[in-house]
């Protein structure tokens, strides 16, 4: 477990270094206060600081995305007085976490085509649903998907703020709640000048379970039968122990 974590952290570091090199004309440099969020037994959510420097004028947009997966949205309606699931649309390519922060309102600094290309904002998320779903139904289900994810704290309700320190330094905070899914996250930082992207950098962020909780999780998945037997044994002993103690007392 520890070795694989180390490998992941190294990977993150290499990728962030490489990402920095790719940046257009090195006009933007950014990094995270922490590249690995460790979910331990005491984890109750955490803030990660993103900081960086830019060259010249321009606005900064930060997009954080969790690993994508498929999510089914089910709709209940009343059948014979009882609320039951009657409709369902499955979306694929849904990010498990999504947050955006910018130094100015997005509509003021970026044209719609740019927002669409970089999937900035909920309306631009390229989540996929079967083509058979008609537009009205699609719109309702898509809105519900975003609303439920926001309610769970996994999609930020509104864009966060990127603040400047002087003309070159910038920073922003991203909050990850206790129920944040594990996996490799991508933090994309864009420098916008006159409605064009003039600098970009992508940094990975790894969210992983560590310590006792992680070892239990791995054990439960890799040695499922033994894990189950141990759980049963603990329960049997727990039920039996008080009787021995009471008999002696």
């Amino acid at each position: 477990m520890r070795i694989s974590l180390l490998a992941l952290a190294l990977l993150a570091w290499f990728a962030s270094v490489a990402g920095g090199r790719i940046a257009v004309a090195a006009s933007l440099v950014a990094d995270l206060s922490n590249h690995l969020i460790a979910i331990t037994t005491g984890f109750t959510g955490t803030d990660v600081l993103l900081f960086g420097a830019k060259e010249g004028e321009g606005d900064v947009v930060v997009i954080v995305r969790g690993p994508t997966s498929s999510i089914s949205v089910r709709k209940k309606s009343r059948v014979a007085g009882i609320w039951m699931n009657t409709d369902r649309v499955t979306f694929s390519n849904v990010p498990s976490f999504y947050a955006v922060a910018s130094s100015a309102p997005l509509a003021d600094i970026a044209p719609p085509t740019l927002l669409a290309r970089h999937q900035i904002g909920f309306n631009q998320l390229k989540v996929q649903a079967p083509a058979t779903v008609d537009p009205d139904r699609m719109r309702d289900f898509r809105a519900a998907l975003i609303r439920r994810q926001q309610r769970a704290g996994l999609f930020m309700r509104e864009a966060g703020e990127v603040s400047f320190l002087g003309n070159t330094l910038f920073r922003t905070n991203v909050y990850f709640p206790a129920n944040v899914p594990v996996g490799v996250y991508l933090v994309e930082v864009l420098l916008l000048q006159n409605g064009n992207v003039t600098g970009a950098q992508t940094t990975p962020l790894i969210i992983s379970k560590v310590g006792f909780g992680a070892e239990l999780f791995d054990f439960a998945h890799q040695r499922a039968a033994i894990y189950g037997l141990i759980a049963i044994l603990i329960s049997l002993v727990a039920g039996w122990l008080p009787h021995i103690l009471l008999r002696k007392a």
């Binding site: 984890f43 089910r74 609320w83 699931n85 206790a178 439960a220 039968a225 039920g239 039996w240």
Partner: protein, 308 residues
Amino acid sequence: MQIYLPIAEMSIDVLLLLGLGGLVGFLSGLFGVGGGFLMTPLLIFVGVPPAVAVASQANQVIAASVSGVLAHWRRGNVDFKMGLVLLAGGLAGSLIGVWLYSVLRRIGQIDLVIALAYVFFLSGVGGLMAVESIGAMLRQRRPQATRRKLHQHIWVHGLPLKMRFRRSRLYISALLPLGLGFAVGILAALMGVGGGFIMVPAMIYLLGMPTALVVGTSLFQVIFVAINVSFLQAWQNQTVDIVLAFLLVLGAVIGAEFGTRFGARLRGEQLRGLLALLVLAVGIALATQLVVPPEDVYSLTHSPGGGG
């Protein structure tokens, strides 16, 4: 104090879990039921994913049942022969139940079927028990009223494969407890409960067992049903959260000790009346959830491997 549950993937207050375990343990010690019918809805209510709630509370049921059986065994209140026959039916039934569960999950109606099963059985069993125990209390107040016949002959007594259950003082067809175990086994697998709350009244009213033996015998059978459920869930779905189970068990064994002592001071029909009220209350609470318009008609289901 918050603790992160590694399998449920959420953080929750330790004292809340100990308290829930203690409360359910107290009631299971008092009434001789595993308490799964109460624990599963409570856990889902505090935000534990339903699959993890169903699987992990089975461990709490194991501990509570072992503790209960030992207490009843010391007083000679367990009919092991009857328990084994019920168990044979129960294991066969739970296999069918697990299969039904996966079929219903594919159609997307598992939540509704579980909720309906809870509402139907809780209100049905609760209602019947309430009526019976009120009747018993009334009869006791008026001793001159006609007493019920000790043994009534109905069609079930004509079934073949008669078997003698010495401790229960019964001579009935083995098909009866086998069938009862089978039916409860299906429900137990579907609803994620040990099935004690259905088994206990069925043994009293259907099999005609003496009330004193019913609780211990049903707990004996529930131990193995819960072990089966817990193992299958851990092995097939990896939904047993040991941390969650351990905290619930810890609270439950302490609560059960108090429950058993408190229960010894109550009379049989009072005990049945109270259990009936409790079962009815849970049934009504779940029924309202089905009828009241939901806050949001949309809900999300993460596909397997979706990490949530």
